[in-house]
């Protein structure tokens, strides 16, 4: 007997049964029996032409029919068949459009995400500081995942020398503002996403107003002054900061949760101007920010979904040449002037003076 798993939202059609059993030679005949037995299920599973609804996924022993033989997939005794509407897990069935149900189906069938989690992603507001090396892959994956509102802060324009790593932008966009290029690319990836363009440098004057509109801040900026500014603003606003930085063949990533340590706890002071060369001066492996930016996207999705173990109090170190990942601990420093026991920084300061360097481009 093949067993059919019935999702919660359809059990009202099966008298509350989560599993029904029937002998059938293939999936088509099993489903035909199912809707003969429970006629109300017919319209849920098949469209008027007798085809499976596009938002219904059928699995045999956890393998999708697309990877098997479709409705002709033969069944053996003990096979487990699951018929899953893409909106399963949602509080109401009509919350996703049919297109969304298909677009996010591979998320929705994950028990850890489901319809409820996908709705959280669609309701989330994330801001990316910089649409450069780190911001590009992070933005692409967050948009694809259906993060509903994405702010992009960058005042720079697309330069030919950006294109070996900044995969949001294409050749046709050289000379355009990065936020405009990002807007068009992200809208194409996922029309569900509302992209908010902030075509300006982040400063002590505008940071609270811009960052305050979002739930999570993803840092892909390219200079120390902006890093300290974003850190301080994130802490003072009480927002999680998903941080990443890169140099030549090596990257660092972490998540700063307010009250659990911050960038100042990790690095109390910036290097003097010129002590650490920029990407323009030192070079950078094109794929390097891809790795770190995708870690940032992953951590952002985990925070939105409250899933897994966030990269908090841990600094992940990636060495592309050794192809090695390591971790070191980050602790909240009781002496930290921002988040320590006796803070002295209670509002945003002059970061160019603090770093002795201008806030150059925002997403190098």
């Amino acid at each position: 007997m093949a067993r059919v798993y019935v999702p919660t939202s359809w059990r009202r059609f099966t008298g509350g049964c989560a599993r029904v059993e029937h002998d059938a030679p293939d999936v088509r005949q099993l489903l035909a029996w199912l809707i003969a037995e429970y006629p109300a299920l017919g319209g849920e599973i098949f469209d008027p032409n007798g085809n499976l609804h596009r938002f219904v996924n059928v699995y045999v022993n956890d393998h999708g029919l697309d990877d098997l033989y479709g409705l002709e997939t033969p069944l053996e005794r003990e096979d487990e068949v699951a018929v899953i509407p893409a909106m399963a897990g949602g509080a109401t069935r009509s919350r996703f459009t049919p297109e969304q149900a298909v677009r996010y189906s591979r998320h929705i069938i994950l028990p850890e995400i489901g319809g409820v989690g996908q709705r959280k992603l669609l309701n989330a507001k994330v801001v990316l500081i910089g649409a450069g090396g780190l911001g590009s892959p992070a933005a692409l994956y967050l948009a694809a995942a259906g993060v509903g509102t994405m702010g992009v802060v960058d005042f720079d324009t697309v330069d030919l020398s950006n294109l070996h790593r900044q995969i949001l932008h294409g050749h046709a966009n050289i000379g355009r503002p990065k936020v405009d290029s990002a807007h068009d690319r992200l809208a194409d990836v996922n029309p569900d996403v509302k992209v908010v363009a902030h075509t300006e440098a982040l400063t002590s004057e505008n940071a609270n107003e811009i960052l305050g509109q979002y739930d999570i801040i993803v840092n892909g900026c390219d200079n120390f002054a902006t890093r300290y500014l974003v850190n301080d603003a994130a802490y003072l606003l009480g927002k999680p900061l998903v941080d990443g930085s890169i140099f030549r063949f090596e990257g660092q990533a972490t998540v700063f949760m307010p009250g659990k340590g911050c960038y100042r706890c990790l690095f109390p002071a910036p290097p003097p101007p010129g002590a650490v060369p920029s990407c323009a001066e030192a070079g950078v492996l094109g794929a390097l920010p891809g790795m770190i930016g995708i870690i940032q996207a992953t951590e952002t999705v985990k925070l939105i979904l409250d899933l897994g173990e966030p990269l908090v109090n841990r600094l992940l170190l990636y060495d592309a040449l050794a192809m090695e990942f390591r971790e070191v601990k980050i602790r909240r420093d009781p002496e930290c002037p921002l988040c320590g026991d006796n803070p002295t920084i209670k509002e945003l300061i002059d970061y160019e003076a603090f770093c002795g360097a201008p806030m150059a481009a925002t997403g190098g």
Binding site: F224, I246, V276, V328, R331, G364
Partner: protein, 90 residues
């Protein structure tokens, strides 16, 4: 002998080596040994008054030496010391 991981910005001073070996019962002794053999790393690690710079962290295994006694942090066989400067690229 303690293994020391050298970050990219400091490798010009170690002839390109990612990993070097050093001697010392404490982090201070180890760094003194390293700066003797690789004088080029000294300005990156220490300020002019001899204090460790605030934008370069030193870890024994995965712990920041600020929580292990700083330069007095003890070292034992098999420990790995990592030098980690802040980088800002994005």
């Amino acid at each position: 002998m303690v293994e020391v991981r050298v970050p990219a910005p400091l490798r010009a001073a170690t002839e390109g080596a990612r990993v070097v070996q050093g001697e010392g019962g404490t982090v201070g002794e180890l760094l003194a040994d390293l700066t003797r053999r690789y004088p080029g790393i000294k300005p990156s690690l220490f300020d002019t008054s001899g204090g460790l710079r605030q934008f370069v962290n030193v870890y024994v295994n995965d712990e920041d030496i600020r929580y292990l006694g700083r330069l007095e942090a003890p070292l034992g066989p098999g420990d790995t010391v990592s030098i980690l400067p802040a980088v800002a690229g994005g």
